[in-house]
Structures are given as C-alpha cells and as structure tokens.
Amino acid sequence: MDAQSSAANTGVVRSLELRELSLSVPISGEHVEAVSKVSLMLKPGRVLGLVGESGCGKSLTAQAMLRLGEHQGVLREGGDILLDGESLFSMDQESLRHMRGGYVSMIFQEPMTALNPVFSIGSQIMEVIRIHLDMNRDETTARAVKLLHDVGMQDAEAVLKQYPDALSGGMRQRVLIAMAMAADPAYIIADEPTTALDVSVQKRIIQLLRDLQRERNLGMLLVTHDFGLVAELADDVAVMYAGQIVESGSVEQIFNNPTHPYSRALMGCRPEVSEPGGSLPVIAGQVPPPGSWPSGCHFAKRCPLADSVCLEPVPVDAWSGEGGHQARCIHVEEKLPELEPAL
C-alpha cells in the first residue's frame, strides 16, 4: 500500500469486507468465542448500522475492522477482513499503521477520554496529519484549521491552542471527528458516537456525521444500541445478537418489516413506539455471555416462537426475503404471540 496517499487522493474506491469472521476473547484464562462467523460489507457512500444490546459483540466486530483489540487478547478464530480484496491479516505493521486513519478511521464513544488532556487540540490533530500526509508545517496547520472548520467550529484557530479540558462534550466529539477525517479516509467506523452526549448535542453531531458522509461519499459502520440513531443515519442495518448477525437488510426493510423475533421484540420494547402509561413488551431474560451460547439458535431460550428444532444448529440464512433482506430464523412466517407484560 502506498504509504503517502490516502484513499481520497488516489481516487480508488475500496471495499471493506468482513468475511465469516470469528473472534474469541479471554475469559478467566480461556479463549471463548465472542463473534461468530460475521459477514459485513461496507460500501462507499453507504452507512451500515450494526445494532444490538451490550454484550452482543458489536464493538469487538467494529474494532476488528482496524485490527484493534488484539493487544487485549482478542484472537481471530476464522474468517477474514478484506480491504479491496487484500487481507488485513497479511499486512505488515507499517501498512496497518497507514490503513488506520488513511483508509479506515474510528470515532469512539467517549469524547472525554479519547483525547489526551496534556496536549493541545492542535498538536493532537497535527500529529494525525503528520502520520498520514506529507505536509510541511504551514500546510499541516492550514489543514488542521480546515478540518475544524469542516466539523462546524467557527473559531478554529483559537480551538487549536486549547486543551481538551476547555471544551464541552459536543466540541470534543467534533474534534475527534475532525481527527478521524484528517487523512481523508474512505471508511469511518463510529462506535456509539453520540451515546455520551446530551440530546440536543446528539442531534447536531448526527447532522454533522450525515453531512460529512454525504459530501465525502464515505462508507460508514455505525455501531449502536440505539434504534433512533439507526433511523437517523443508516442505509443498511445488521442486527447482532450473541455474536451473530441475526437479521440484515435496508433500513426501510428492518423498520417496516422486522422479521427475526429478536429484532421484532427489540424494536417493540422501545418506549417511543408504545402507548404512554401502558406496559412495555419485554424480552424475558438477558443476552447469554460468550461461552454460554446455546447450541442451536442463540436467541432460542428467550424466543416466544422457539421449539425443539431451534435448539439444533440452524442454517445460516434460514430465511431470505426480497432485496437482500435476510433473517436467521426458521419461524419468520409465524406471528409473535402477544408478549405478556412481565415484571
């Protein structure tokens, strides 16, 4: 890979694909499967929402797209990650360093901790520019100013001299987004980019992400537990449960016709779609942790439609609807019984 060029500079449209990726994590001394044969395809100009509850493996999957997490003991058990057909696992450290940020960047959830408090905003942005782009001092400064302008900061020159401490949560998230854009990547991995922010600030960051994504034809993986954020930003959706993708389709397909019982239940228990004051539909129990997955369908124990067949290994794409809408379930044609409002 050409170390000095970024994705936009070369004009090459690259694909980023997870192919049947399985990952394991160390749990009390043993490696346990936490992500199971996950396939995802990111495309330029499209936002893929990866949605599910905590403990489903979404963040592990997202970090794997940059080969992060390995120093914390995450192991690849199978499958591959392909950037334009080239395996990330065959790249040397130098290529990986330029892939991260140059082709694929990450925006993290915690704007409060992702910036170093002892360096100015300017020095942190300029460091990223220096790693990826061959620019002299003046060009680097000019680029940093432009990046801050692009993320909606009026007084970019002044912000460069400030320290993270002086900025609000929303401003810090803007700085992190500017840093992610520093080398014009083709793909952005955004892990809960608005979760730590106030609602009014969330809306602004959503607008910013949408604008940047459209202007630059970015491909984006949006990792979130929040269906509201998916509804705002995603073109395509993959629903994850206990290490597996259980349903995928376009955002309209998923919202108009959620098909997997987990997707249906998860969307139904949101207070914003329920009658005020009434009981909310619930999913009994909780997500089984890695190492405690049932042998068949991972959702079977919580599923109102499950029968004995569900406890046997399920074919990967048990149901395929129109236009790429898929669900890992053999009971999709059945109605969900009225979920009894439990405790």
Binding site: Q202, K203, L229, R270, E272, Q286, A342
Partner: protein, 321 residues
C-alpha cells in the same frame, strides 16, 4: 394533597480557582414543585441542568442554601439526627448505576436488609432475611440471590436489587435518579414495567429524574423541564409534550431520537443549536433562543401559567397550536 413539596430550592457551587476561590455558580435556582400521592413527576433536563442536584437536596444528601422541602406535610429541611432518619423511612432513592450504589463486599441479603436494621430494630436476623426474600421476590429476584454479591448480577438484576433495597422500609415516595439510563432497551422495558406495577400496588409517588424524553413520556403524569438550574416549564405530560410553551422545551422535544427513518429531516431550523452557552443575566436561554427579543435581557424568572396548571418561565411563550 401533595406528599412531597419543594419550595424555592436553591444551591450554589464554587467553580474553578484554587481552594474554592472561583466564582460561585447557581446550580439550582428557586426550584418549586409538588408531588401528589400516587403520581409520577418527572424532572427532565440535560447535563448541568440541576436535576440531580435537586434530587439530592430533596433526599437531604445535599444541604440546600435556600428553600424548603416538605414530606407528608413535615418540614424536612431542618430535621437532624434521629428525626431525619425517621423521615427517610418515607422517602427512598434509587440510583442510576446500581453497581456503584451497592457495596461490593456485602451480600445481597445484607445490602437489601440494611434499612430494616435502622427502621425495624425489633426484627431478628431470621425475620429480616424473610422480609428481604419477600421484597426481592416482589422485584423478580429469586431466593438463591440472598447470599450472592453484587458482581454476580447483570445490570438489570442489580437495578432490581436497588429497587428492593429502597422498597424494604415501605416508603411513600421514591426518588429515582436516571434509573434506566445505564440499561439496554429490553432490560429498560422490564424495569419500567416493574416500577409501574409496584407503584400501582403500593400507591407510591415517584420523583423521576431523567434526560430521556421518550422514557419520561411513557412513565410520567406530570413533567418539570429544567434548564440551567431553573424549572422553565411544568405541567401535565401530554400538555408539555403536545403544546410546549417554552422555546427550550420545544427544542429539546425536536431533538428527540426519531422512531422511524421516514421521520428524517434536515436542519430543523429550531434556533441556534450550535451554542451551548447560558446567559448569566435575564433569561438564561436567550443566547440560544430563536424567539429572543430585547426585553429578554432584563427578564427575571417569573412563572406564567395558563388555565390548566401548565406553567412556563418565558416572556414570549409559544402559541398553543
């Protein structure tokens, strides 16, 4: 009759500077509300709005600079020692992070039973254990949990334990500080249903602190919206959500997460959203308000009201349409 009443509660903190030499900043400014028996009053606001500070003053976990709190008709702001302990039997708190609020070295039976030692010293160990088991069962936690430690439970189960601990002394009022914010949506639904059922069974009154408008819309009978330490609007939840009169409330409602991709819109044109500043004179919201006028600069908070107990602190309230 109101079970809990707060009158002009205020609290200032010093901010910045070494050893408290910084400027004094009013975190809560003259907050007034009344909670009726069996109802849920939500206090909603963004971070820094003063909603949690208000809750802590109501609980007497923090002393108010000014103002008073009445619980079941009794002034609790000046209660001390034994008197205060007795009052606390009637008002209990459930925290956002159930793990941080449970002692990791105490078994569940001890944690949940703690209140009984204070309020029912006549009970022996066996009786306490029985009562803890009953209360936990009521909150959906089985008897096998009694001798376990908090880390052995999931977030949702810990919140159930936190609720059981608050309920065990049979309070009249629960102060719930972001009780479902740390939970996944499926678990959130379980806990909201549990709170609803307990409220109906025990005729409890809830002071429900939250930043999540969808949750508030679902659980609350009435809502108080806080901005920069003040209640800017208060009323029945339908009235406030359907016809907000204060521009801040309207902005907050417009920023709610959408439920379906067909509700996507571009810039909602709802004021200068890109500012986070608070004015230190006049109306605190005027720097961000799309309807600001000259007289807002000199505006000292005074509450206006329409005919339906729907109050708002704005000189130029929005139309009811």
């Amino acid at each position: 009759m109101s079970v809990l009443r707060a009158d002009r509660l205020s609290k200032s903190f010093r901010r910045g500077g070494l050893w408290g030499a910084g400027i004094s900043h009013k975190a809560v400014d003259s907050v007034t509300f009344a909670l009726k028996e069996g109802e849920t009053l939500a206090i909603v606001g963004e971070s820094g709005s003063g909603k949690s500070t208000t809750a802590r003053m109501v609980m007497r976990l923090l002393e108010a600079d000014e103002g008073s709190v009445h619980l079941l008709g009794e002034e609790i702001t000046s209660a001390t020692g034994k008197e205060l302990r007795m009052l606390r039997k009637d008002i209990q708190m459930v925290f956002q992070d159930p793990f941080a609020s449970l002692n990791p070295r105490m078994k569940i039976v001890e944690t949940v039973g703690e209140g009984l030692r204070v309020h029912h010293p006549e009970m022996n160990r066996q009786q306490r254990r029985k009562k803890v088991a009953e209360t936990l069962a009521h909150c959906g936690i089985g008897e096998e949990a009694l001798d376990r430690y908090p880390h052995q439970f999931s977030g949702g189960q810990r919140q159930r334990v936190g609720i059981a601990r608050a309920l065990i002394v049979e309070p009249k009022v629960l102060v719930l500080d972001e009780p479902v914010s740390a939970l996944d949506v499926s678990v959130q639904a379980q806990i909201l249903n549990l709170l609803k059922r307990i409220q109906q069974e025990r005729n409890l009154s809830y002071l429900f602190i939250s930043h999540d408008l969808s949750v508030v819309r679902h659980v609350a009978d009435r809502v108080a919206v806080m901005f920069a330490g003040s209640v800017v609007e208060q009323g029945a939840v339908e009235a406030v959500f359907e016809t907000p009169r204060h521009p801040y409330t309207k902005m907050l409602l417009a920023a709610r997460p959408i439920a379906h991709p067909n509700q996507r819109q571009g810039d909602n044109g709802n004021g200068d959203l890109d500012r986070e500043s608070v004015a230190d004179s006049g109306c605190a919201f005027r720097l961000r308000c799309p309807f600001v006028q000259d007289d807002c600069t000199g505006f000292e908070v005074s509450i206006q009201s329409d005919e339906s107990e729907h109050t708002f602190a704005c000189l130029h309230p929005l139309d009811k349409s």
